[in-house]
Structure formats: C-alpha cells, structure tokens
Symmetry: C2
Subunit: 197 residues, 2 copies
C-alpha cells in the first residue's frame, strides 16, 4: 500500500530515538543503558544495533539532536509569544517551568547532563551539544535584534539568556521547585529590558 519507505519498521527507529532521548535527559549518558532504552521503545536490542551500527554513541548523538529540536520548538513558541523581547524571553522560562513541572521534573534540556558528563571524552556528543547551544543562542539573538539591539551585543546577551535558562532549570530540577525558573523569568525580562535602553 504505502510506498514511502517500508511498511511500519522505520517507526521502530523513531521510537528508539525518542526513548533514548527521554532516558538520556533523565539519567545521562552512562546512566542510560541500551537494554532499558530498547525496552522503553518496545524494541529489542538487536534493533537498536541494526538501526545504529555505531552503537550507543551514535544513538546518543541522534537522540540529542532529536531532543534539541524539541527544545527549539519550545523556545520558538516562547520567543514568538510577544513582540517585546524582554517579555518573550521571560515567557521561555515560564514555558520551561510548565513543561518541567508537568513532567515531574524530567523533561528539561536534553543536552545539559549528557554533554557535561562526556565533555572531552566523547567528541561526537560534545559537537552535537555545541551545535544545539549555538542554535538556541542564535534564535534568541535574532529575537533581540528585531528589537533593535546591535548584533554583537545581541549574541553575547543571548548566550547569557541560554545560560540563565540552563542554570535555572538545573536549580529547579534539583530542588523539585519551580521557584528558580519563575524568578529567572523576572530577572530575564529585567536584564533584557535594561540592555535595550
């Protein structure tokens, strides 16, 4: 019937990537082992190695890319929520707080843990993390420029905005309390506002 690619198998590959992304952001690279990933995806270990001949490392890189895109969409939604960059950036923090709270403090940034854990030891993962962070920074910088901020200033501030989001998420996840992210939202707006003057 379908002549897309195959009957329904490529669906398995997607499930594996999603399950890997979920486990990676909860337990990190070393903590998320292959068997539980396959189990969570409703697949078998052989399927994992069939679709990812590069093994766990290749899967982790693709899972990180997948998670990074998901996070990009959340960021995009927050950034487009208001023409005012200060309000938009604050909305990102609040959106993140919602996502995090509703998922019992599990669905956060898919890059932080895995990247920190493997810095300088798994180049492919580090590279994927760098690209994700740069992409997010670019998104925020673009928003800031639409409000008249000069490009270099915007890039630097965007970096700190990402840093605040990452740091506040860390605090919120560890303490199991969304106060840090909510406070960060206020301070983000304040910082951006004072930079636009």
């Amino acid at each position: 019937m379908r002549a897309e690619r195959s009957p329904a198998e490529s669906d398995t590959r997607d499930r594996i990537v999603q399950a890997a992304a979920a486990l990676l952001q909860r337990q990190g690279y070393e903590g998320a082992s292959v068997k539980p990933i396959a189990q969570a995806a409703g697949a078998s270990v052989s399927s994992v190695y069939h679709f990812f001949p590069g093994g766990k490392q290749e899967l982790a890189i693709e899972a990180m890319r997948y998670g990074a895109e998901e996070f990009s969409r959340v960021l995009a939604r927050g950034l487009s929520s208001s023409p005012d960059a200060a309000k938009a950036v604050a909305a990102c923090a609040l959106l993140q707080a919602d996502t995090l709270r509703e998922s019992d403090w599990t669905d956060g940034c898919p890059v932080a843990v895995t990247a920190l854990e493997t810095v300088g030891r798994v180049p492919g993962i580090q590279q994927a993390a760098i690209e994700a962070l740069a992409h997010w920074q670019g998104m925020v910088a673009a928003k800031l420029e639409t409000c008249g901020m000069p490009s270099p200033t915007a890039r630097a501030l965007a970096g700190t905005v990402i840093a605040i989001l990452e740091g506040a998420e860390l605090l919120s996840r560890v303490t199991g309390d969304d106060t840090p992210l909510n406070d960060a939202a206020v301070h983000l707006a304040q910082l951006v506002q004072s930079s636009l003057n």
Copy 2:
C-alpha cells in the same frame, strides 16, 4: 609521637574524597567508578570500602560536600573582592572562568553533573546538592543585603545569580571557551545594578 588520631591513615581517607570529588565533577556519578577513584587516590579498593561502608553512594555524598566547600571558598573570595555587590558578583564569574581555564575545563561546579544525573534516584546525593545550592544562594543573598536590598528580593536574585554561574559554566565547559562566563560577568553586574536602583 602524634596523638591526634592515627599516624597517617586518615590522610588516605582525605585523598580518596578528593579524588572522588575530582572524578565526579568530570564524569558524573555513573561515569566515575570506584576502581579509578581508588587508583587516583593512590589507595586500594578495600580502603575505599573500609572508610565508606556505605559504598560508592556514601563516598559520592561526602565528595560532593567537599567539592561544595571548595566552591564556597571561590565564591567567598569573589564576593569579598569589592564592596559593590554588582562588581563582586561579576568577579565570581571571572574567577570561575580563571579556575576553569587553568584546569582545562575540568574544575568547575562539583554539584551540577552528579546532581542532574541522579535527580529523583539517589536521595542522599540530591539532598547534598540542595544544601550546597542553598548555601551558595545564601552567601550571595547576604552580599546583596549589605548593599541595601530587601531580604526576599535578595534571595530571589541570588538564586538567579547562582543559575547564571551554573549555566554559563555549562556553556563554557561544553564549548571549551570562556566567552560565556566572561559575558555572564558583564550581565551579572548589569542585572544586580539594575536591581539595586
């Protein structure tokens, strides 16, 4: 001769804790295994289990406390570097950038990776992380209050200050570039300054 406690054995215990702290912040909880820790400490595995009957978990908790105190000293040095809270907080970021750069991006926050990795799964570690973060936040808040900021405002802002430090360190470590921390220093000063008005 010495009647302190014992001849030189408790020195071994300290070395184990230090080695564990170092490996934990580089590779996280799952990534830092017991044998390499003992090896790095110049001790044997039996010594680890002799001093820490609770095993890896007990060792990790104490190592995190040790690392957290070290980080507290860096923070204290930065905070006392200027009577102006804005400048003092910025100095913390620059100090962190120095430490990180000089150690080839390894000696950073001893809490972030391990805590994120074990959120909701190793209560003892999470608790130690919460205490460390709260302590640092308290230090920053105290500094802000000396500049006349009301206590609740200071506490909230101090939380975001810690978040920025953590987030910027994440970016710097992953990218291997101290630009995020240097930019964060500028924005930290700016944020605190605008909050003091």
